[in-house]
């Protein structure tokens, strides 16, 4: 019942937004629907605490603590993005860059996109998960190109093509898992062969050779959507060209929804192969992503692209945390998913506001933001502090716990290398951030105040991120319950 409601509410809001011509009330309605998803996510978390597994729709949907956690993350970021979308669409229409019809289309596509992500985390069937993740690509293409500039068009093309190829590889991986499951005597037949619960039960009997091939394809394939190297090249373009609320959704949750798929497959593969094989794969792609992010952040001149490369770094860190694979490590990975989602969404939304006010996304052309626009600059600054993993924000706690878990399983050299690369990234981001925020304002006049509709949700997001950093109590038991689902 809960599972149904979580999927239906955002979809109905999207359908309404398609029928009713655009006005602010429509935007608030979608925000309300996404707030509903968040509340239902909390309810689902409480429910799964009593009954570890919920099913619906003849076993097509399934929810455990991990799904509930992901629903909460999606609901939170979708709520933030929906409130900001009102501001974005208003400004686009006022500036003559967009029409009301275009705004309606935007709302419909965003709601479809959110529903696809929710379907992905609630799907019982790994095939269904694949279909939902692929559907997110289709729903987001026109959102990436929503500003209809040359760059946006090019970015959409790259995005669809690279992600579709990646996801085709993930499909091949899923086929191999299916093939392995068909050769397990006594395993379920028909559509339920790819059911995650039954695959977990049979995981020890899956053929190791087939599973090795499958996992390599899955890490590469879903890794494309996660933005992990070597298939990351679509990410900086798409995230920098998309409208800010869409970047926030893509960077804040879409990447981690794809990573959720990897966590599910990893749990099965660990049963069939032991932890070492997938660990090696994740360490390779994780370190490669950190390396790519570090080398390209140094020379970045565009603040939206800087945030995009920062996403690649954090996905790399999450991959390394998952490589450690203990319950503590996965709990830290999940907290990192939430913390990164919040901080990155706040930063992308703030950067959208900066772009709107300053008309450029080049770091050099936006100096001394803090003195000219104290509220916006402050939000951006604190967001960067959160993203760099400094206390009191939750990313500090989760990064610390991931490193500790890596040391515990003998991945000390991985933790060391990643700390080194993170130091490079830290220096690069501080340098860019200092230029953007501090420095002399020169002759520039003091700009208009930041509207409350922008400031309040963003400050709220940062406060939430800090609260989870200072005390994990509201989440502690959920994080561990969720981690327990996929950890050994």
């Amino acid at each position: 019942m809960l599972c149904y409601a979580i999927l239906v509410i955002p979809l109905v809001a999207g359908a309404l937004a398609g029928v009713v011509p655009w006005r602010r009330a429509v935007g608030w309605m979608t925000a309300l629907a996404n707030a509903g998803v968040l509340c239902l996510g909390v309810a689902l978390a409480i429910e799964t605490d009593h009954r570890p597994r919920l099913g619906a729709l003849d076993g097509a949907l399934r929810a455990d603590a991990l799904s509930a956690f992901m629903v909460i993350v999606i609901g939170t970021i979708a709520l933030l993005a929906a409130v900001q979308a009102i501001r974005y669409l208003d400004a686009e229409i006022a500036g003559g860059r967009s029409s009301t019809r275009h705004a309606s289309l935007y709302c419909v596509l965003v709601q479809v996109f959110v529903t696809c992500m929710l379907a992905a985390v609630l799907s019982a069937n790994l095939g269904g998960l694949w279909v939902a993740v692929e559907a997110t690509t289709i729903a987001t293409t026109f959102l990436v190109g929503h500003r209809r500039t040359d760059g946006a068009l090019e970015a959409s093309w790259k995005y669809v093509l690279i992600c579709s190829v990646g996801i085709a590889l993930a499909f091949l991986g899923t086929v191999f898992v299916y093939f392995a499951a068909l050769h397990v005597p006594g395993h379920a037949t028909g559509a339920s062969v790819l059911d995650w619960t039954s695959l977990m039960a049979a995981s020890h009997h899956l053929n190791p050779t087939v599973m090795r091939l499958a996992m390599a394809l899955l890490v590469l394939g879903y890794g494309t959507k996660v933005g992990l190297a070597p298939m990351h090249s679509w990410l900086p373009d798409a995230h920098s060209q998309a409208p800010a609320p869409v970047s926030a959704l893509m960077s804040g949750v879409l990447l981690t929804v794809a990573f959720y798929a990897l966590l599910r497959f990893k749990a099965i593969a660990d049963g069939a192969l032991g932890p070492d094989y997938v660990r090696t794969l994740l360490v390779i792609v994780g370190l490669a992503s950190l390396l790519v992010a570090a080398s390209l952040l140094l020379t970045q001149r565009d603040y939206k692209r800087m945030l995009a490369y920062h996403s690649i770094e954090h996905m790399g860190l999450i991959a390394l945390g998952a490589a450690a694979g203990t319950t503590v490590a996965i709990a830290a990975v999940l907290l990192h998913i939430l913390g990164h989602g919040l901080a990155k969404a706040v930063l992308f939304l703030a950067s959208g506001e900066i772009l709107l006010a300053e008309g450029t996304s080049e770091i050099d052309k936006v100096p001394a933001l803090l003195s000219r626009r104290p509220v916006l600059g402050g939000i951006f600054g604190f967001g960067l502090v959160a993203l760099l993993g400094l206390p009191p924000f939750s990313l500090f706690v989760s990064e610390l716990n991931m490193f500790r878990a890596e040391l515990d399983v003998g991945l000390g050299w991985v933790a060391g290398t990643s700390l080194l690369l993170m130091a490079v990234i830290f220096a690069a981001v501080i340098a860019h951030g200092r230029h953007l925020l501090l420095g002399s304002a020169g002759g520039a006049d003091k700009a208009a105040a930041t509207p409350r509709i922008v400031a309040i949700p963003l400050v709220g997001g940062l406060v939430a991120c800090a609260v989870f950093g200072l005390s994990a109590w509201p989440l502690q038991s959920l994080l561990y319950a969720a981690a327990h689902v996929v950890a050994r």
Binding site: N125, E154, L194, N207
Partner: protein
């Protein structure tokens, strides 16, 4: 239909799928590429139909129909529309020329056989023995994607990858479960629609669909 004829037909259709992939490497006329892709779709549907007849699996029969409709008819038609706006268009400057591409294709087929070798020796059956054909199609698709610069050629590359994956799925597991297969076909169809729309607006905006000349985004 006897088991022997059935196997012959499966071998024939699987062979045609790979042959089509190789042909896309030496035809530079974009219209020819689309025609070859349609033929590949039909061959894939025929393979599914043969398997469906042999096993009596109704679901697989439905899948065969869907594949025929989507990959044999609708998708080639969508691509033909893009090509028609650009009459006489050719893949003028592929990054790797045709003879070298064909040599590379031969190499990729060998790679596919080597990498799938352990798989076929673990589960020896006439069908798994053919699985490397699908993997080779995937690899050739990748090759097209990285060496060809026209928008249409890139879509063709993506579809080669996709058809290769579908071929592997049919050969190894007689297709994935029906609902997943239908969802997957719908997704592929929508992706092609999206790409077609993008290619059309690129043509309207830039006056060409040559991806080498897109230089807006870089680091």
């Amino acid at each position: 239909m006897s088991a022997g004829t059935e196997l012959d037909l499966v071998e024939l259709t699987a062979g045609v799928v790979l042959a089509c992939a190789v042909v896309t490497l030496w035809r530079r006329d974009l219209r020819a590429l689309v025609a070859v892709l349609a033929l590949q779709g039909v061959a894939l549907a025929a393979l599914a139909a043969v398997l469906a007849l042999h096993t009596g699996d109704v679901g697989l029969g439905v899948v065969a129909g869907v594949v025929l409709l989507a990959k044999g008819l609708v998708i080639p038609n969508l691509l033909a529309r893009v090509v028609r706006r650009d009459p006489g268009s050719r893949e003028t400057t592929p990054l790797v020329n045709v003879p070298a591409s064909l040599v590379a294709a031969a190499g990729l087929v060998i790679v596919a056989y080597l990498s799938a070798g352990r798989l076929t020796s673990l589960f020896p059956s006439p069908m798994t023995r053919l699985a490397p054909l699908g993997l080779a199609t995937v690899l050739v698709g990748f090759f097209v994607l990285v060496t060809r610069r026209k928008a249409v050629s890139q879509i063709v590359g993506l579809l080669l990858v996709d058809n290769g994956v579908a071929l592997v799925a049919f050969l190894l597991t007689a297709g994935v479960p029906l609902l997943v297969e239908l969802g997957a076909s719908l997704d592929v169809l929508l992706v092609v629609v999206v790409l077609q729309v993008l290619a059309t607006s690129m043509r309207a905006r830039f006056g060409h669909v040559d991806l080498d000349q897109l230089r807006e985004l870089h680091d």
